[in-house]
Amino acid sequence: MPKNETPDDELKSAFRLWKEDVYDPALAACPPGSERTTVSGRRLKELYTPLDLEGWDYLRDLGFPGRPPYVRGIQPTMYHGRQWTMRQFSGFGNPEDTNRRYKYLLAHGQTGLSVAFHLPTLMGVDSDHPLARGEVGKCGVAVDSLADMEILFHGIPLDRITTSMTINAPAAVLWAMYIAVAEKQGVSPRVISGTIQNDILKEYIAQKTFIFPPEPSMTLIVDTFEYGAREVPRWNTISISGYHIREAGATALQELAFTLRDGIEYVEWARRRGLDVDEFAPRLSFFFNAHNDFFEEIAKFRAARRIWAEVMRDRFGARNPRSWWLRFHTQTSGVSLTAQQPYNNVVRVALQALAAVLGGTQSLHTNSLDETYALPSEEAVTVALRTQQIIAHESGVINSLDPLGGSYLVERLTCDLADEARELIRKVDDMGGMVKAIEHGWPQREVSDSAFWYQTAVEKGDKIIVGVNAFAGGHEAIPLLEVDDSAARRQLERLKKVRATRNGTLAREALGDLKKAASDGVNVMPHLLRAVKAYATLGEIIETFKEVYGEYREPTTF
């Protein structure tokens, strides 16, 4: 090597030589290929080399699993010590139907429960509400009162199983019901473990199952943080989610940045209540999407861990390392599945699940091949579960921790996503925070802009969807799960029975007491427990809250 040439210079000229004298001419002789962009539109280079990591330092920027910056994983042993939880999101029809499905899934190797509630429950109305017509049991399990919750978990030991519940505006209510069911089983609130999604900010941005306006909703959430920290210490009182933001059309970067900024907002509101960050932060959890672009997704998960650790330690001064850990659940992307050629979905899910595992997820749901048509059939959900088991036991990817660490591409993408996410987070800071940004409609517009961009790209043929705008044709009828109207009938009968047989005075008094607690601004959790145990229905409880908190109506922009 000449005296005045550094190792870098040598590499730079070697790369330039390869690119200009070998790659480019060879490529020119090939038919034109497609743009090498991710599903989010990020352009990738033809090749990544050490030149793409100039200034990158292993110990500072990568480190070891279980040590800051946590890029390689939040625990030192990761899957060597504990496999990710196989947690299939599930629920349909009446509680008995779903109880049966839960037992089936557990018998087939699932290791945690995840509850999908039907739309009326998600929106805080009972199955006999006019708006519930045609909706009962269709998109999830019908739960109107504690009576339904008892049936849902019948024969399932809540001291030995963890449960995640996808519920947002009414999260505190369903959590109270779960705590009450556990108590009836003789299981203390100090022992039960699980998660409530309880992330209202992303509802305004994407999933849209909001009920009340932002301020009272945030207050309710902080109530759960406070109550959880003191009474239910093994419970994750929030699952700060990017999944839905991504499904609504966001890019990987927007998913990452908006999720983390939502997290920052929750921490700020909790601290304003007077909670010490280390009191509640170890019980914050996250939920990301595993979408199509394999390496972009892996880099996204790694960037998330890095940024959150910085935020917790530097921005919020958390001292407990458990407060720095970004623990997350992942679901493979629903919106990427196709109705055409549904068996292709098995392959999509396998690749997406693999990305989640290589990205270090703590918990994973794999979609079923038939979910563009209906809720999963037993056969389809079994394939989805087996997908995870094959990755865990046959693929070998778990044999060494963070096997993609050190890949020039993955490390470069991780750094880029982290840098760009920090910028977007700062942008929301400058707007006055996430609640303010949502009030201005900013994240919602960003998401719908990205959605429109993507649809345009698909219709132009710039983005290929196999079986839809390429390699199309063929018609496969697959067996589907059907939820018929008898589920609604049964649900209405039970609801009538609950109202008829409960102590009406007790229920009424509990609701009155709850209303007072909400108006006085005290923590509503003990009052919710009283109300659910008196068999006040979800609809009655939410109506009570609406009288105090009001209702949110979003602007109809597009």
């Binding site: 739309l119 009326p120 998600l122 929106m123 109305v125 006019p130 708006l131 519930a132 017509r133 045609g134 909706e135 269709k138 998109c139 999933q207 849209k208 199952t209 499904e247 609504a248 059309g249 919106v335 196709t338 109705a339 055409q340 563009t372 048509y373 209906a374 719908s448 959605a451 429109f452 649809q455 219709e459 969807i465 839809v468 589907l480 939820v483 109506r553 979003e554 602007p555 109809t556 922009t557 597009f558």
Partner: protein, 137 residues
């Protein structure tokens, strides 16, 4: 077809909160020169029909992914008839099982756009089948 601007009401009936598709279609129709009114989420059949009549809609597009279409669509069609607005064509999209389509069409839904439809399919259908009633600005 007429050179008048076509007014489209895009509606989300029932409790379903998935609005990605509805919003993308709103934009595509607007880009195609139509006037688009979006009802927002969680509208009842009564609210949708009332909006269609008040807004002088030339066509109604229903977006639903919750499985409640067999209850909500006939309800909307019945209300349109009662309000003497049955001449407003109603099209739909979302998650609608193929086996339900004949029944829905018999009830009066003019066309159903399943997953994988392009926005241009919808633009073209409206341009081919709907007469605008307002002069272009």
């Amino acid at each position: 077809m007429s050179q008048n601007t076509i007014r489209v009401l895009i509606a989300k009936p029932g409790l379903d909160g998935h609005d990605r598709g509805a919003k993308v279609i709103c934009r595509a129709l607007r880009d195609a020169g139509m006037e688009v009114i979006y009802t927002g989420l969680r509208r009842t059949p009564e609210e949708i029909v009332s909006a269609a009549v008040q807004e002088d809609a030339d066509v109604i597009g229903l977006s639903i992914l919750s499985g409640a279409h067999n209850v909500l669509f006939p309800s909307i069609l019945k209300l349109l008839r009662e309000q003497e607005a049955a001449d407003i064509p109603v099209i739909a999209g979302g998650i609608i099982p193929e086996k339900d389509i004949p029944g829905l069409k018999k009830a009066g839904i003019r066309e159903i756009f399943l997953p994988g439809s392009s926005t241009q399919d919808i633009v073209r259908w409206i341009e081919d089948h709907v007469r605008g009633s307002r002069k272009k600005a």
